[in-house]
Symmetry: C2
Subunit: 319 residues, 2 copies
């Protein structure tokens, strides 16, 4: 038996845009041993990213033990030199992204992948400014990317399965879980699911059914405990003795009726409602700062991941 | 220093209806040392509940180590004798529940609490058949109740805070997390949140954006990892540097726009769509049976709960 192991060489990753999203990518690529360059046209933003990365990020449990090969670049050209993968993370503005992609396409080598962190824009619209839309992708992370591994990938209509697999492979090697979408919808999948839950949660608080803490308790001590293991379809599957076909047969009628009663109007999120929601959260977290709460969240998510990854779903014994 | 500990005497719980929901209550009340009687008018149903409880439930990690004081009662009167708390769990039918509550109210002692597991009916409508609506409550569990601790409580308009607290206390002592609703809405909170997520998830699959596995991956490796710790409001709170007020200021505009694009029609769940969803689930779980998957889920949820309960949210250090 002969094994042929192809050890892939590390990538050179250019992160363009050093705000919250751009910084969040640093630990993801750092832990896979890739070279990282980070650029922002604003020297202040770049400096503040350096402070944040050095004081907070490198001590976070998500990167501990890795010393990233990281360079802060004042000039875009410097960041792009030899880059094999670009992760664009500037503000959500079509004109600005189009303009940047035109430059990326012009300045990068032919094989370089050009990926956008956009969560709302269509990569097909962004890539119109380039001569090579086939190498342009949406690669949308969730906050914080180093602890929430899922990423949404969307190729342009000019993209190929092979190039998409190259993008997914780079992210997989960095510990992420890539999910490939077949076509664009506003908000992609994740933010749409989140928006759907927000709409109903806000409507329930608005209607005085319960306060924000009660709604969150239904998730933390109930629904989300199933979703985090099975998702929503997997949950339906295990809520009938013989699986999802039986579930739909028995329960879809009442769910269809219930769905007909859900909020369709967008609730007004203003003055008194924000005050009330804010008050319940202040009661829950006392005077803990957001970074304190976020560190607590990250530690817990990493522990939950360990439990989640400690076991595969059962695949049956007879086959 | 003198401690005055009032050890509460165990309750006598009558579970009426021995289907999936009724059986699910057994381990919950069993682990708190309460006496339990379970009744079903159908001898077959009662026998099948006995088999299930003896062969599966008592070996489940959620009850292990507790030997329930459990009696199977062929007659309603026998189950209710000396009961301090009744958990009605028959089919979701207003006429049947009204009829049963009339009998419960007539047969039980004055102080006995009469609780319904209903997930869709208004307890105010059920209690019209009784002379004492103030002791009638909805106490709605999630499946499986012994591992998903949240319960929704709704008093009737005749109910008092003191009686509601008595119900909540009994459930809390049994290891549940009671959430009190202020008024009735169809599906209460939990099933509405679930229905909102199902509507958008089904619409995304229906529109060919991605398959059921991809949608579930967004939850298991992303969104639900935050929701299980923070809920949806807590997640928004930690997604801006200064909390939820800043979050709404900065992001509500784009969320409102996104919400405007969400599914409002109820997707048609039929033939080819069910086939496609079913196929992805069969691929995920091979030929594992639903009870095998459910046992795996329960073990994982209990481990997640341990992580969740190992730490309180930070409450700040300054005061």
């Amino acid at each position: 038996v002969s094994h042929c192991t192809t050890e892939r060489p590390p990538e050179t990753i250019a992160i363009v845009g050093a705000g919250v999203v751009g910084r969040g990518w640093v630990p993801v690529f750092a832990r896979s041993g890739h070279e990282i360059r980070i650029h922002d046209p604003s020297p202040g933003q770049l400096e503040s990213a350096r402070d944040w990365i050095e004081s907070f990020l490198l001590s976070s449990p998500a990167v501990r033990g890795h010393s990233p090969k990281l360079r802060f670049c004042a000039h875009l050209e410097e960041a792009l030199q030899g880059a094999t993968y670009v992760q664009e993370s500037i503000q959500e503005n079509l004109i600005a992204k189009r303009d940047l992609f035109e430059r990326l396409d012009r300045l990068c080598e032919a094989g370089t992948l050009l990926c956008s962190s956009t969560s709302s824009l269509d990569i097909n619209d962004i890539a119109t400014s380039t001569a090579h839309p086939g190498r342009c992708f949406t690669v949308h992370p969730f906050n914080p990317a180093a602890v929430l591994p899922v990423v949404e990938i969307l190729a342009t209509r000019a993209g190929s399965g092979t190039t998409t697999e190259r993008v997914a492979g780079i992210l997989r090697r960095a510990g992420q879980v890539p999910v490939v979408l077949h076509r664009f919808v506003p908000g992609y999948i994740g933010n749409r699911l989140q928006a759907a839950l927000m709409r109903e949660a806000l409507a329930l608080v608005d209607a005085g059914v319960a306060d924000a803490d009660a709604v969150d308790a239904l998730l933390t001590h109930g629904l989300a405990l199933r979703w985090v293991i099975l998702g929503v379809f997997g949950t339906n599957h295990t809520n009938a003795d013989h699986g999802i076909r039986e579930y739909y047969e028995r329960f879809w009628g009442s769910y269809r009726e219930l769905i007909g009663t859900l909020a369709v109007e967008t609730p007004a999120v203003e003055g008194p409602m924000i005050d009330a929601i804010s008050a319940t959260l202040e009661k829950r977290f006392g005077n803990a700062s957001i970074p304190e709460i976020a560190r607590w969240r990250d530690r817990l998510v990493l522990e939950l991941r360990k439990v989640q990854l400690s076991t595969l779903p059962p695949a049956g014994t007879a086959g």
